[in-house]
């Protein structure tokens, strides 16, 4: 499989007044991969994502999403992407099935709410309100709303923050499934173990710059080759494995 770029970011700059949040970053996301944007808070990850998602104006630079220029073709891009925002709410007083109907209308397509909820295993919650869902269910519902328009790319901003280990693993499976069905996934996260097992490639962002972009394996090998050693010898399992082993892989609806 040749690597075909589906997103090309070239020298992207974003200033808020005097403050430069993004200082000229360039990268490519390949079709069909899970691409991770990693970095500390305030590094410019969310700003970069929101510019690609057409939610924010860029100061300068060039971005092509699935062949469309972000400057001239925002509408075509909006139709081809699915967006999950950090901490976004949903229309008040509506149940999940009604929210899916609303989003179908916003995308101008007819999708049966049950079909969408089935994709994220929430059919039994069709009549529930978003605010009454557990953390994991909320995230899965958010992902369902990003899939309504059969997008080419979906963007997930810290989807696993605050979830318990079972819910997190459950979400990884869902994200992999989406990737395997041909949708490109761009994700941000603060969990390096998550990036390591989930992402095909990752980019490290810090202080408004990209300071490295490669596969997780490569990064680790490079670091080890440079003579790095962990202070504590790595065992064949870690505490999270113990947690999962003890409490079971079964995901609990909470």
């Amino acid at each position: 499989m040749t690597k075909q770029p589906i997103i090309t970011v070239n020298d992207l700059v974003k200033n808020y007044g005097d403050f430069a949040a993004v200082k000229g970053i360039s990268f490519e996301v390949y079709e069909g991969e899970i691409f991770g944007l990693l970095g500390p808070n305030g590094a410019g990850k969310t700003t970069t994502l929101e510019i690609i998602e057409t939610l924010r104006e860029k100061t300068s630079g060039r971005i092509i999403v699935d062949g469309f220029d972000i400057e001239t073709d925002t509408d075509s891009i909006k139709k081809r992407i699915g967006v999950q925002l950090q901490a976004a709410g949903y229309y008040p007083n509506l149940n999940l099935s009604e929210l899916i109907t609303l989003f179908s209308g916003l995308y101008g397509i007819d999708k049966s709410p049950m079909e969408m909820l089935e994709k994220v295993a929430l059919t039994d919650k069709a009549k529930a309100k978003y605010k009454d869902l557990s953390g994991g269910q909320k995230q899965r519902f958010s992902i369902a709303t990003t899939l309504i328009n059969n997008p080419r790319i979906i963007f997930l901003d810290e989807p696993t923050t605050g979830l318990d280990p079972q819910a997190r693993r459950n979400l990884w499976d869902l994200i992999r499934e989406i990737r395997d069905q041909g949708t490109t996934v761009v994700i941000t996260t603060h969990y390096m173990d998550e990036a390591e097992v989930l992402c095909d490639r990752v980019a490290f962002v810090d202080g408004g710059y990209i300071i490295g972009i490669d596969t997780p394996d490569h990064f680790i090998d490079q670091l080890v080759a440079s003579g790095f050693e962990r202070k504590k010898q790595v065992k064949l399992a870690n505490l999270e494995d113990v947690f999962i082993n003890l409490t079971g892989k079964e995901w609990r609806e909470g």
Binding site: Y91, N93, G105, G108
Partner: protein, 365 residues
């Protein structure tokens, strides 16, 4: 991917439908739009007119230096109308917007004064108030004169035919205005602020939906809800309390058109407040600044004519005053929308002003 072209109408209607469902499930919307106005109607329809004034037209030929007139001037409930022509006065009397016409004549014979009072069936209740006021004056004046002297004044009364103006005919249009005002201002301000703060609007912007679809969809939902509410209030008023609808269905339709115009203007205030407010707790005080003065001064409960002149000046600036006036004219006098152009013109001025402000202050993010 999507072979069909994107439909803005479909998106607008999807928002309208979602918003309408949401409004129906929000207790405050239902309470403010339906419950409060109905409670006020029930209460006031049963206690009758508090803060009533009796508008008495003073005939051109009336002797204003007579003791009867002087005494009448000092009665608080009586509001003497002198700035209308005889013709206007007669017309207003038959409509009940003035309650009686008084004409005091000095006689060269005894008794020295004759008090001619013309009442109207259109305002029988207020006519009765005046009647008792006059008999009181009559009794005092004649008694002050010496015993065994002939009476100083006699009262001659006539009553003209007119449509009866019930208190419900006054209170219901006011409550309709109040319902529209609170739904338009509070409802719109809360919804747009909370959609903005919870990033619902931001999430919408990640879809191909246009901004005008969001505003239009929300407005459509609120309009539908408020007009259904208005219709409900009118019907309850008509069938339970005998609210007068001169031309039946036509009058109801005219009232609904006025309701729609009023709501659009009040929503303009709502948009403005949602833009100025920093969080949800600043919405109520800001909304109250807009709604309370109109609630009190726009003739919702008390006739504007009961206020002192300077206060009437303020009343006559407020949009709800003109909506209420237009509503009452349409409902009770049975005039068409073409006859309330003065009120509509002032509402138009408000529309222009408030939307100019709303466009400047409204925030999407």
């Amino acid at each position: 991917m999507n072979p069909k072209p994107y439909s803005n109408t479909k998106a607008t209607l999807a928002i309208a439908k979602a918003s309408f469902r949401s409004i129906l499930r929000s207790p405050s919307a239902v309470v403010f739009t339906l419950a409060f106005p109905l409670i006020f109607i029930i209460v006031f329809a049963n206690i009758g007119g508090g803060g009533v004034t009796v508008d008495v037209g003073v005939a051109k030929t009336c002797d204003t230096i007579s003791p009867v007139y002087q005494a009448l001037k000092n009665v608080k409930v009586v509001h003497l109308v002198k700035d209308q022509s005889t013709e206007e006065m007669n017309m207003n009397l038959s409509k009940g917007s003035i309650d009686a016409i008084i004409n005091i004549q000095k006689n060269n014979t005894r008794p020295p004064f004759t008090v001619n009072v013309e009442y109207t069936k259109a305002s029988a209740e207020k006519g009765n108030i005046l009647r008792s006021v006059l008999s009181n004056i009559y009794y005092n004046i004649n008694n002050n004169a010496q015993i065994n002297t002939p009476p100083v004044a006699e009262i001659r009364e006539t009553t003209i035919q007119g449509r009866e103006y019930k208190y419900i005919d006054f209170i219901l249009p006011g409550q309709l205005g109040f319902s529209l005002l609170s739904s338009g201002v509070f409802g719109t301000a809360f919804v747009f602020l909370s959609l903005r703060l919870t990033l619902v609007i931001k999430r919408f912007f990640a879809t191909p939906v246009k901004r005008y679809s969001i505003v239009l969809g929300e407005a459509l939902a609120r309009m539908t809800f408020s007009l259904l509410g208005s219709l409900f209030i009118i019907l309850v008023g008509h069938y339970m309390f005998g609210f007068t609808l001169v031309h039946g269905v036509t009058t109801v339709l005219n009232m609904l058109v006025l309701s729609a115009i009023g709501l659009i203007i009040f929503m303009g205030f709502g948009f403005t407040i949602s833009g100025i407010a920093k969080n949800e707790s600043t919405v109520p005080p800001l909304s109250n600044i807009i709604t309370l003065p109109q609630f009190l001064l726009s003739g919702t409960f008390f006739s504007v004519t009961a206020f002192p002149k300077w206060l009437q000046g303020i009343s006559n600036v407020l949009p709800l005053t003109h909506l209420n006036n237009a509503m009452r004219k349409v409902a009770f006098e049975g005039v068409g929308l073409g006859d309330v152009t003065h009120q509509l013109f002032i509402l138009l001025i408000w529309f222009v002003i408030i939307y100019a402000v709303a466009v400047k202050t409204f925030k999407w993010e």
